[in-house]
């Protein structure tokens, strides 16, 4: 009955289709108006109150109209007379919903909500029956009835469904035919169609034993994890780009691979949850640091969209990331939609605004920034593969060996050191400074100039000579020279200098001196961080912060020691750049000084008797001594080279974002979600209040505490959420249909008891995901036909009773995988960085910072599974998008399922599918036997796993023949068709025939049967 009840609620949505269904199918609507005899609050009453009344008379304390709340029995059933338990006719509520008086009627006209006759009757019956309330079902403890008595979870599933069907007088659909069944099983558990030998085995012996073996085979296949990841990555909104503004790439594919591996290893779900929410706070047994795997998993907390847009305010974006995270955590792990509580207490569920901010406060310890630097999302770690890990070890071993060699060498050389010291003392009296003037009054003559070398005379004069370079701008501006014919050779003590005068009325925000030793990655910065080149949080050779801007209104000498920007002796400098951000600056005398004498410290050490030198003095002298040895220099060079090789190799290793816990920032409730309003109460981490409180003593609660609470066996939401979603994957709909919301505005489960049974079974198994799925797919219910009988269509159009299986279009990734698999092009390799299938050129033209051109992979990565496709949040691959893959900006628990012309265009014309068709055609010609007929049969069976009937056979044969004729007459057309894609076509085969079979293959890849899971 409540199935029909739902129908009514759905029909209250607007839309063309509605008026249509009412006029054509009015009888159905009438049918649904009948009222259940014994009213159950959660099933019958709550949906009505929640949808029609709670917006004004519900949990949101800010807007309780007329002081009446209907969500709490004590407040509704009282002296006010709104509800008189047992006496509907005396209850004001009933009077108000029944009245014709437009001023009094509830819901009021301005709410645009109305109650149907059936809904009014439900409320009446409920009050007459005593107005009994129940807590919302999803917050009630899970019940294990049925599970304890049954032999297995599978038996319990069938028992409950069969009992219900017999109660409702509905016949279950017959068992699906073996081909349908094995295709369903294979798609559901691996995301790919079954292999022909498995189909043959099962069709020849469709026994429970073989079926059960197939289940195990599929669950143990590495494809299983890839298939499950498709769904999980939707939930956690995994993508390869940052989402906001320039939508730049961000490296987090190791997280994706972690998910695949977790499902393949059958990691218990509670462990899976803990590692993602708090992996950085965990450690494996007998260790005190998190494992690499745990850190990678903790990247979950960093999968939110981020920005690097100029002019963004960090505080605003921290608030945005905060809210994003709360929405995602509550949806992914608790099946709850807390988003509304960002601005006001939830109108339909007992989540308060405080709950929203308190849940977010668990994540206040994450190291993160509101606005990130270019292409940088710290903290990140490199995640080496096994092979890469071994290579790193080889580098380390080599380094150790070189260092040992060096040490031996130095010990040998020490014998000669006293003689060297004596010679040093002799020349200690001759220190010299050699100065090279690069720019005075004119630019260097032997270099290439860029930018505006605007020499002017000023009122305040030059520092040297008469002219200086004036530069003025609103933003970034520079002038520079490069390509000096006689480059500057850096010596032991080399210092660059330039004189600058900053206009006190309009000083720049920042100035930079930059040096070219082959590249420009040597910088020293004065003033703010306004210039982004090389900018990092820490100072380093390519962004050495010198502190404040120099004093304005006078000439100041800026100095840059070669060492501080990473320049070693003998490095050569061919250019210097003068850069400022905004303002007015005057640049003058620029040059370089080489001090060829020894430093004070060296001379002091040298004059100290050797037995009185301290350690640093000894080291200083030895370093200088060894520096003059060619052998030691060669050894040092080798070490540096080895270190550079290691660093370069390490930088090529894929990185991933991780969680890192730092001092938690203060979290306040933001009034109406306004990030600029600091007046709200400070909150500490806490779980939603109506679900309890966590007792841990005085310390602040952590993400691990949150994870532990989520994973408690008796958490009413966690197991229900996950079990319901696993059911949805296996049937196309959940036991509770709203897989994204188990809360008050979600749907009431069609099998509340069964959902509990499956959930409790899941927990008792030790949160064993594979066992849960195995229990479901072994059931009779799973194995039924998805073709509805006429009776089922009319009595249960939406299949809420699961009297039959579901049927639906494959997920976008699987549509792709199926074509590649059937064609033989599929390259199966688990994990790795995301890949780039063919994509229409210019698709990223609307992106900027930086502008970019998509490059399709030219190697075997072109043929990887869809789950590995580069996920550009703002411009998702058009094939994936057409087939309803989500942008992954927010949590998606149920993808839309559409059936559109754009999908047809993809399957007909996308080069991926054309190349797949040609490759499939080659298989047809090689493997399909000698005759056209045998080839047709082989082709059809390869695509859809079953034999072609004569009509289908004839249709395909006709396509072959007519295309053969065309391509025989137009060989150019044939070769055009065959030359698409990276792989070359098989030149041994007759081109016209291959093109004709390609046409047949195109038909097959476009069939409903090929892309549908029945």
């Amino acid at each position: 009955m409540f199935a029909n009840h739902r129908t009514i609620r759905c029909l209250t949505r607007t839309g063309l289709v509605l008026s249509f269904s009412l006029c054509i199918n009015g009888s159905n609507a009438t049918h649904a108006e009948s009222v259940p005899e014994k009213v159950r609050f959660n099933r019958d009453v709550r949906p009505v109150l929640s949808d029609k009344c709670f917006a004004c008379h519900g949990p949101d304390a800010q807007t309780v109209e007329g002081g009446l709340r209907l969500d709490v029995r004590e407040l509704a059933v009282d002296d006010s007379g709104a509800i008189i338990a047992g006496d509907a006719n005396a209850s004001e509520l009933i009077a108000r919903i029944m009245t014709d008086d437009q001023d009094l009627v509830m819901p009021p006209a301005h709410s645009h909500k109305t109650l149907s006759a059936a809904e009014r009757q439900v409320l009446k019956d409920w009050i007459d029956q005593g107005a009994v309330y129940e807590q919302h079902w999803a917050y009630e403890p899970m019940r294990s009835e049925g599970l304890d008595e049954a032999d297995s979870l599978t038996a319990a599933i069938d028992h409950k469904i069969d009992a219900r069907l017999s109660e409702d007088g509905l016949d279950a659909a017959p068992k699906a035919d073996p081909v349908t069944l094995i295709r369903r099983l294979s798609f559901d558990l691996t995301g790919l169609p079954p292999e022909s030998h498995d189909v043959d085995r099962f069709v020849n012996n469709p026994s429970e034993r073989v079926y059960s073996q197939l289940v195990d085979q599929y669950l143990n296949s590495p494809r299983f994890g890839e298939r499950m990841a498709i769904y999980w990555l939707d939930l956690v909104r995994y993508a390869d780009t940052v989402g906001y503004h320039g939508d730049q790439n961000v490296s987090q594919s190791p997280y994706r691979d972690y998910v695949i591996k977790a499902f393949n290893d059958n990691k218990p779900y509670d462990v899976f949850v803990r590692e993602q929410l708090a992996g950085d706070l965990l450690s494996p047994p007998n260790r005190d640091q998190p494992s690499q795997e745990m850190l990678v998993a903790s990247g979950y907390n960093r999968l939110n969209q981020t920005t690097e847009e100029g002019g963004s305010q960090a505080k605003e974006y921290l608030a945005i990331y905060f809210a994003d995270r709360v929405r995602n955590v509550s949806q992914v792990f608790l099946g709850s939609t807390m988003g509304c509580a960002q601005c006001h207490d939830h109108k339909y569920d007992p989540f308060t605004t405080k709950d929203f901010y308190a849940l977010g406060a668990f994540f206040a310890d994450l190291e993160e920034r509101g606005v990130y630097g270019a292409r940088d999302r710290p903290p990140m770690i490199p995640v080496p593969s096994e092979a890469e890990h071994k290579q790193l070890q080889r580098f380390d071993a080599q380094l150790i060996e070189l260092e040992q060699q060096g040490e031996t060498l130095r010990q040998q050389l020490l014998a000669e050191m006293p003689a060297w010291e004596a010679a040093e003392r002799e020349r200690a009296d001759r220190p010299q400074i050699e100065t090279d003037h690069l720019v005075v009054d004119q630019s260097p003559s032997d270099a290439t100039l860029s930018g505006d070398w605007n020499f002017v005379e000023t009122t305040f004069g030059a520092h040297v000579g008469s002219k200086v370079r004036h530069q003025q701008s609103d933003g970034l501006v520079q002038h520079y020279f490069e390509g000096l014919e006689r480059p500057i050779v850096v010596k032991d003590q080399t210092t660059f200098f330039t004189w600058v005068y900053l206009d006190p009325k309009n000083p720049p925000q920042a100035i930079i001196l930059q040096f070219n030793d082959g590249d420009w990655e040597q910088r020293k910065v004065w003033g703010s961080d306004a210039i982004e080149w090389g900018r990092r949080p820490e100072s380093y050779a390519a962004y050495r912060r010198a502190g404040e801007l120099p004093e304005t209104g006078r000439w100041i000498r800026l100095e840059v020691a070669a060492q501080e920007i990473g320049l070693k002796p003998n490095a050569t400098i061919n250019g210097i750049a003068f850069t400022q951000f905004g303002g007015d600056a005057y640049w003058d005398h620029t040059g370089v000084e080489h001090h060829d004498g020894r430093s004070e410290a060296f001379l002091a050490a040298l004059s100290t008797p050797s037995d009185q030198r301290d350690q640093s003095q000894t080291t200083r002298l030895q370093d200088a001594y060894f520096a003059e040895s060619d052998i030691v220099a060669a050894n040092s060079k080798s070490i540096e080279q080895a270190k550079a090789d290691r660093a370069s190799f390490e930088s090529s290793i894929t990185k991933t974002v991780i969680s890192n816990s730092v001092e938690p920032r203060t979290i306040r409730i933001l009034p109406r979600g306004n990030w600029m309003d600091d007046s709200g109460e400070i909150v500490l981490p806490a779980i939603p209040e109506f679900l309890g409180t966590l007792e841990v003593g005085d310390r602040r609660l952590t993400r691990l505490d949150l994870a532990d609470w989520i994973c408690q066996d008796d958490n009413p939401l966690t197991a229900r959420t996950m079990a319901n979603r696993m059911w949805k994957l296996m049937f196309g709909r959940g036991l509770c249909e709203s897989v994204d919301d188990l809360g008050g505005q979600g749907t009431y489960p069609s099998y509340p008891d069964l959902l509990d049974t499956v959930s409790v079974g899941f927990v008792r198994s030790g949160w064993d995901v594979k066992q849960l799925l195995r229990s479901i797919v072994m059931s009779n219910a799973y194995q039924r036909s998805s073709t509805p009988s006429a009776e089922q269509v009319s009595a249960d159009p939406y299949n809420t009773t699961f009297a039959r299986q579901g049927r639906f279009c494959l997920d976008a990734e699987m549509v792709r995988d199926t074509a590649l698999s059937v064609s033989g092009l599929l390259v199966e390799q688990v994990g790795g960085e995301s890949v780039h299938p063919y994509q229409p050129p210019g698709y990223y033209a609307q992106l900027n910072f930086p502008r970019r051109e998509y490059e399709a992979d030219k190697d075997e990565n072109q043929y990887r599974r869809g789950v590995y496709t580069h996920w550009q949040r703002t411009f998702l691959h058009p094939m994936l998008k057409a087939f309803d893959a989500p942008s992954r900006e927010e949590c998606t628990a149920a993808r839309a399922r559409s059936n559109t012309p754009l999908q047809a265009l993809v399957l007909l014309n996308d080069p991926t599918f054309i190349e797949a068709a040609r490759s499939f055609a080659e298989r047809i010609m090689h493997e399909g036997g000698a005759e056209v007929d045998s080839k047709v049969d082989w082709a059809y069976k390869s695509a859809v796993s079953r034999a072609a009937d004569p009509a289908i056979h004839q249709t395909l044969r006709h396509v072959f023949e007519s295309n053969l004729e065309r391509y025989r007459n137009d060989t150019q057309a044939a070769s055009a068709l065959l030359s698409q894609g990276n792989t070359a076509s098989d030149g041994q085969l007759d081109a016209a025939e291959l093109a004709a079979w390609t046409s047949v293959a195109r038909v097959l890849l476009n069939l409903q049967e090929t892309i549908t899971r029945y």
Partner: protein, 468 residues
């Protein structure tokens, strides 16, 4: 949940006619059209006659300066170079001028009254000035997002949270399209004249609405619509044959499966096949007269804003419901004087040509033209430019149901805060939907347990004073 109801409708319909849902919606559209476009799909009561059938949104991406275009502020001229009163700016959100001295900059272009209405328009728009008596300029717009990406998202979806449907998708959901050969919501882009800020496809996404309502982007080079061209070496009759064979085998298999999706799929393939012809026909502008081309001042098909305007007219003629033209060129942080002039030159003539062309063809009366960006720019200088500004900016509308020659609302003397007849983005949405015959409070979609609407949960009002 919503699948149900389409499912039910489709089932019942299929039993009678054997057609799919695409055909279904177009059939419904046709019958509604016969009935007059006043019939909106709102379930009960409160229907009102639609003033317009379609929307052409000329989105001036980057944030055009209202102070150099439509909002004349003589006070700024007088106080040029002086400090902005702190009382105006204290505690207000600010973008790139964070932490800097805030100095007033006067209007960089001359303003003059135009047309009989005397609407003030600056010199950068000689052609648009000619539309003065048809335009309704709203000078009191304000928004909530100060950076480009979220501000566009806010303007298109009513929220800065990603994943919600765009206004074009909402309109498609409410009204469907009037064409069986083209998508009902089409997006064109161009750039030039300023820093090209990125534009996300989120701006025309269907969000949680079914994806058939999403905007389809058209391109000036390559296939105008993704995958609309046959594979090399396949001609149209072969493509027809492939589709026929697919249909035949699907139908054959469906004798056993009885899957209504098969029928929908058939209709989808038929529309795809029609699109393969109608899209090239649409983008082949050789039938346009030289006089028309000259009026727009374009090289047809070159991807410029002017060419896109001409294409927009062709889309409108063919029954496309929601047409969005983005021109990415209005982000003038520096050199606002020259920048506005340059970008204006790229859009001025074609904008006017589009409005006049529609008028000449009798289509302006049932078209709503919207012109404006995601926000305005500060009265304060950022060097020689202006920073992002959200507390007051200008947009204009023209076409059916809108009062011409009207200046509505006002900002304060600095052009900073909208102070008179303030129009929030949500109000703008409500007004646009109203003109399409839709009550914004009743255009809802259930998602995650809530009835979502374009105008969200905060109050939104139809701006009745601008309605003709």
């Amino acid at each position: 949940m919503n699948d149900h109801h389409t499912y039910l409708a489709r089932r019942t319909f299929l039993r009678r006619t054997g057609l799919g849902s695409v055909a279904l919606s177009s059939l419904l559209q046709n019958s509604l059209r016969a009935d007059t476009i006043a019939a909106t799909p709102i379930t009960t009561g409160q229907r009102h006659p639609a003033k317009v059938k379609r929307v052409i949104h000329l989105c001036m991406a980057g944030g055009p300066s209202h102070l150099e275009t439509f909002d004349y502020k003589p006070v700024l001229e007088k106080l040029d170079g002086q400090a902005m009163p702190a009382s105006v700016t204290a505690g207000q959100p600010i973008a790139q001028l964070q932490g800097q001295e805030l100095k007033i900059m006067g209007p960089q272009h001359r303003f003059a009254p135009r047309g009989e209405s005397g609407l003030m328009v600056s010199d950068v728009f000689p052609h648009i000035s000619g539309l003065a008596d048809q335009m309704c300029v709203i000078k009191s717009m304000y928004t909530e997002q100060i950076n480009h990406d979220p501000a566009h998202t806010f303007f298109n979806t009513g929220t800065a949270i990603s994943g919600r449907p765009s206004m074009g998708a909402w309109v498609m959901y409410g009204l469907g399209a009037e064409t069986e050969n083209l998508p009902g919501f089409i997006v064109l882009t161009s750039e030039g004249g300023g820093q090209s800020q990125p534009i996300s496809s989120r701006q025309w996404h269907s969000g949680f609405l079914p994806s058939r309502f999403q905007g389809v982007q058209m391109y000036a080079s390559g296939n105008p619509v993704h995958y609309v061209g046959n594979p090399a070496g396949v001609n149209r009759s072969q493509q027809r044959e492939i589709i026929d064979a697919v249909a035949t085998i699907n139908a054959r298999r469906n004798q056993e499966r009885q899957d209504p999706e098969v029928v929908t799929r058939l209709a989808a393939y038929e529309m795809a096949f029609r699109m393969q012809a109608s899209v090239p026909e649409l983008t082949d502008m050789s039938s346009e007269t030289q006089a028309t081309i000259d009026r727009y001042g374009c090289v047809p098909g070159d991807g410029s804003f002017a060419s896109n305007c001409l294409l927009a007219r062709r889309l409108a003629e063919r029954g496309v419901r929601f047409i969005q033209l983005y021109h990415r060129g209005w982000d003038h942080h520096g050199g606002v004087k020259q920048g506005v002039e340059t970008t204006a030159k790229l859009v001025d003539q074609a904008t006017a040509a589009l409005v006049n062309d529609l008028k000449q063809r009798g289509m302006l009366d049932d078209t709503l033209i919207i012109w404006g960006g995601e926000f305005g720019r500060t009265p304060m200088a950022q060097g020689s430019g202006r920073d992002h500004h959200i507390k007051g900016f200008s947009m204009w509308m023209a076409g059916g149901g809108v009062k011409g020659g009207l200046s509505y609302g006002a900002t304060d003397e600095f052009g900073y805060n909208a102070v008179e007849n303030k129009v929030h983005v949500r109000d703008f949405h409500a007004t646009m939907l109203h003109l399409l015959g839709i009550d914004h409070q009743r255009l809802t979609y259930k998602f995650q347990g809530l009835d979502f609407r374009l105008t969200g949960v905060e109050e939104a009002h139809v701006v009745r004073d601008v309605l003709a």
